[in-house]
């Protein structure tokens, strides 16, 4: 079984993000990146499926050459090789373009499964998996918390509002990983040493022959409003209700 799986890098969620002075984006100088946690779940699942069913796990990502480091982490966990589509900076993409790039890679690689994180924790768009399945006209199972392979079908338990849903999708299919799907393994030292010798193909986006214009236009970035100080409340219920009405305008 051949699996394509994504490894997106995201800004360290604990880092203090600063906006560029013209609000066109965030300042990326010296910013630390981490693998998107949902991608890590997808990678772990790909590796586990590979351990039972054999085949190949190919890690794909998009971005500047230093995104190789993110792919390399997945190779260290045990994936076999990587593909990095270069020529786009992190902010020159929207979910739609990402899905179209992945669709192109799908056509070249013809995997049985395309595994992705359900969303990236920076943009939180939660669209790529769904768009990709649509472009490829194949089945999708998003928010997976369990994946089993039975013959030519993937049996996927999905986390939906208010419970779990179990569905069967014919392969090839797109599956996006939710947090409870698994506990990603640590890259081992031998794995890291071996990963150095695994190949990562860089493909220039222009050679994919796809339209790179964005469907989403970013107008401006704003910092969230800083929270005002709390109000100490000492009086009775009437005063509280009064304040909620007149000052907080909450009721």
């Amino acid at each position: 079984m051949k699996i394509l799986v994504t490894a997106k890098r995201v800004t360290d969620p604990n880092a203090k993000i600063k906006l560029k002075s013209d609000k066109s984006g965030i300042q990326t100088d010296g910013l630390e990146y981490k693998p998107n946690p949902f991608c890590e779940n997808a990678i772990e699942e790909a590796l586990r499926l590979n351990e039972t069913h054999g085949g190949e796990v190919v890690v794909v990502s998009i971005g500047p050459s230093d995104v190789q480091a993110t792919i390399r982490t997945a190779l260290a966990m045990g994936a076999h090789r990587g593909i990095l589509v270069t020529g786009l900076d992190d902010h020159q993409m929207d979910s739609d373009l990402v899905a179209r790039v992945f669709a192109e890679l799908y056509k070249r690689e013809r995997p049985d499964l395309f595994l992705l994180g359900k969303q990236a924790i920076d943009g939180d768009s939660n669209q790529v998996g769904q768009l990709l399945a649509e472009y490829l006209e194949i089945g999708q199972a998003c928010f997976a918390s369990k994946v089993e392979i039975h013959g030519s079908e993937a049996i996927v338990t999905r986390e939906v509002d208010g419970g779990l849903e179990k569905i069967a999708v014919g392969m090839p299919a797109v599956i996006t990983a939710d947090l409870r799907l698994n506990e990603p393994r640590y890259a081992s030292l031998p794995g890291i040493v071996k990963a150095r010798k695994k190949s990562i193909d860089e493909i220039d986006i222009r050679s994919l022959g796809i339209d790179t214009h964005l469907k989403v236009e970013t107008v401006a970035y704003e910092e969230p409003k800083t929270r005002g100080g709390g109000v100490t409340f000492v009086g009775g219920v009437d005063e509280l209700v009064g304040k909620l009405k007149s000052e907080a305008k909450a009721i």
């Binding site: 604990n14 030292l189 890291i192 990963a195 150095r196």
Partner: protein, 387 residues
């Protein structure tokens, strides 16, 4: 909140992508497996056994050795592993140091090929735990005085003596025991289930509580002739092991100090006294600056030391410098960090108190601070001041 490491001088730029990856993998493991439970382990005084298969699986046992199931990573990468482990706890780092540098390393360096084949793969997998018996109740800084003695009979060695303060003693399946013989000091590979071998737990410690410390009692322990390490005679064998372990300690304590600094800095920014965060007062800033400065200097020493080790240029007095300087730095950092946390600094909910207690052991074992002073003094003056 994620740990933020000190990198004032941008030393990450001097590390390879692989070294950074190795460091980050161990850092993530420590975040998930060690930090959530280590305060409780320390308080209850037990070593978290569940960490053994995790670190073994990651290839951290004997990580800088080649072959026999060991990954053979570079010396700087190995140092970074030690740093990250001790960022969790000195007890965890001690476990890995003893297994790799004090038990596996002598078998690897001075053992026969059969001995290496027999022991190292299982030790790398964490299925066989090792310990290292050099110190005795009456001989610490001066191991040359040791009383443990091995007599050679026609078909076996018979070893008798007591070893004290032995890390991993009660959980080990194999002990590397140093003993006097007719020809000088020798190392022996002794399975701990050999009749006459006993390990007694050292309890009531206030330091390195999340680590097993034992007394070993060897009462006419008989081992076959091929239990002796053939590659070395004399104390230099044991000293080579100590050099390997001290190298790791010098890196490890920087992890301890970074954990303390990170916690103290966060606390100082959040804790408001009088009219503002305590980080805004000059006296607190001075402590933070002192910590940052000394940690950064120790990092520079480590990186240079590691690159020298990789090129085969490192000499024992360099390691004495690093062990002496870095451990004293971590000890002072722990004190300053604890001061900044006020009353909270004595609680297990925070890390500083645990590091403060642990570092007392690290200050003493593997050559006390003062003994390394004398080693360096001898190096400078060519006059030994030990006796």
């Amino acid at each position: 909140m994620d740990f933020e490491a000190v990198d004032f001088w941008g030393l990450d730029a001097e590390l390879s992508e692989e070294e950074i990856q190795i460091r980050n993998a161990v850092r993530a493991m420590v975040d998930r497996e060690v930090l959530p439970i280590i305060g409780k382990c320390f308080e209850e005084g037990h070593f978290p056994m569940h960490v053994i298969p995790v670190v073994a699986e990651m290839g951290l046992l004997g990580a800088n050795l080649h072959g026999y199931g060991c990954p053979g990573i570079g010396e700087v990468a190995y140092g970074l592993v030690m740093q990250e482990l001790e960022r969790g706890d000195s007890g965890i780092r001690s476990f890995v140091s003893v297994q790799g540098s004090l038990a596996m390393y002598p078998i690897y360096t001075f053992g026969s090929d059969e001995q290496r084949q027999k022991w190292l793969p299982g030790m790398a997998k964490g299925e066989i735990i090792g310990c290292f018996g050099l110190t005795e109740p009456d001989f610490g800084s001066n191991p040359a005085g040791m009383r443990t003695y091995a007599v050679k009979a026609s078909d076996r060695w018979v070893i008798t003596g007591n070893k004290m303060w032995i890390t991993n003693g009660n959980i080990a399946q194999v002990a590397v025991i140093w003993a006097g013989t007719e020809d000088g000091f020798r190392g022996f590979i002794v399975p701990t289930d050999t009749p006459g071998f006993r390990a007694r737990l050292v309890e009531h410690k206030f330091s390195l509580r999340a680590s097993v410390t034992s007394e070993l009692i060897l009462d006419n322990v008989e081992v076959p002739l091929d239990a002796v390490l053939p590659g070395v005679v004399g104390l230099k064998g044991a000293l080579a092991c100590l050099s390997a372990a001290r190298y790791g300690i010098s890196w490890g304590v920087v992890g301890s100090a970074m954990a303390v600094y990170d916690e103290a800095l966060r606390y100082a920014k959040e804790r408001v006294q009088f009219s503002k965060p305590i980080a805004g007062y000059q006296l607190v800033q001075e402590k933070l600056v002192e910590m940052l400065t000394e940690i950064s200097k120790a990092q520079l020493v480590n990186l240079r030391m590691g690159r020298m080790k990789e090129r085969g240029l490192l000499r024992p007095h360099h390691i004495s410098f690093a062990k002496r300087n870095n451990v004293a730095m971590a000890r002072r950092t722990a004190q300053l960090g604890r001061e900044i946390l006020g009353a909270n600094g004595i609680m297990y909910d925070y890390q500083v108190g645990r590091h403060l207690c642990n570092i007392e052991t690290v200050y003493t074992y593997e050559g006390t601070h003062d003994i390394h002073t004398l080693v360096l003094g001898k190096e400078i003056t060519k006059i030994a001041a030990f006796e």
